[in-house]
């Protein structure tokens, strides 16, 4: 069965047939359909990106990257999963690359500036600045996590997804997702110098 036939079947059965119609048109290069897809999905993609990276300055670049990739590979979207899920996979891949590039960049930055005077005292305590630095430290620690742990933690803790939704999104069993989230929490607490999560030896202590 050809791709368009697959899509036609999906179009007939899918609850959101309109979306599939738009996707089919966008795949043919229809500018209005691409604009419609962009308008429908880019706010959510941008929000995901911000929460996954914590870097507002990179959101625009990454949103563009995601949609360039999405429009370029619409042919591979077979209508078997939600378009949102498919787009989320592209977003996750782009964010992974972003973290890799950021780690390399930061290593160079440390070399570039800290030659002479790295260990000087920090500047005066301004609450906003301190909060910003804490958030930055949090995202730095998040970036150091293995991709799978980071994605599980982001979906569950930052995106507030249910176990079922996150499990479907990331394509892993709930038990795996649950383990990854808790392991990520442990590693984050360790990296940030926070006390270990309560009830870590017990079974589910609750928050």
């Amino acid at each position: 069965m050809g791709l368009s036939a697959t899509l036609d079947v999906a179009l007939a059965d899918a609850p959101d047939a309109v979306v599939l119609g738009i996707i089919t048109a966008a795949r043919r290069g229809d500018a209005a359909a691409q604009a419609e897809l962009f308008a429908r999905h880019h706010p959510r993609v941008a929000r995901h990106i911000l929460r996954m990276t914590g870097d507002a300055a990179s959101v625009d670049d990454l949103v563009q990257e995601v949609f360039v990739a999405a429009f370029g590979s619409l042919g591979s979207f077979r209508g078997e999963s939600q378009f949102d899920t498919w787009l989320h996979t592209i977003t996750s891949n782009k964010v992974r690359n972003w973290w890799d590039a950021r780690r390399r960049r930061e290593a160079r930055e440390r070399r570039a500036v800290f030659e002479a005077d790295r260990d000087a005292a920090a500047t005066g305590p301004d609450e906003t600045l301190e909060q910003r630095q804490q958030l930055q430290a949090f995202y730095t620690a998040l970036g150091e996590l293995p991709d799978k742990l980071r994605e599980a933690f982001t979906a569950r803790a930052i995106e507030h997804m249910s176990l079922e939704d996150a499990s479907a999104l990331l394509g892993v069993p709930i038990s795996t997702l649950s383990y990854r989230t808790r392991r990520a929490e442990e590693l984050l607490c360790q990296a940030l110098g926070l006390p270990p999560p309560p009830g870590r030896g017990d079974k589910e202590g609750g928050a």
Partner: protein, 247 residues
Amino acid sequence: MIDVLPRRGDGEPAVTSPELAALVERARAQTLPPLLTTVASVRAAAMHRRQRRSMWAGVGLLAAAVGVLALGLRGRQVDRRSAASPAGAAMSSEAPLTGEASAPNVPSERTAAPAQPAEIELPAQSQTPSVGLRPTAPVGPTARKPVPTSADELVRLAEVAMAENRRGDAIAVLTQLVRSHGASPAARTALLDLGRLLRDAGRRDEARCAYRSWVARWPGDGMRADVERALDALGDGPACRGLRPHR
């Protein structure tokens, strides 16, 4: 996929550490900046990428054609020489030249060989750096390699130049990167590298401008204190217009 744990629905908290939960809440509460990306910019970027891909494909084909042509010419020259010299048929490029074989009018094989691919040098004042990429096939002396345009390519070239201690080239590439991709995340690191390289090259006024530009663009960044210390170490100097000192 087999689930070994019973489903606990949403009863399982994602974060159990109260300190970490507070940080996570702050991460959730971040406000999205106004987005500048539009579907038009996405389409333009996609088109640009396609054009670049076809340009490189064209360059590859051209290089292959030039290579084939050069090999053909070389083969023809060797044939002609072999026909002109009685000893030519027995002589190979690796054979030592004997008294009989090296007739005075026969050019040696070495001089007839096509030029080796050479580093393409650009004029000293050019903003476009020569960063040591070799063409894939022999080309004429006036050929110029395509100027890299994407931030990623420029970052790569700058890294190569820095690794090879070609400070002038690195400065030129980083300047181009900052000027043409000022909004990209790569520009952030590029400005820091640029400041350091300019300072090491004794171009303190320009180094100061690079650091000032960084502070102006990322005033709330956690590294600001370090950059300001680097600025202090450079002392006072003229005002800057972008990356240039304004005298």
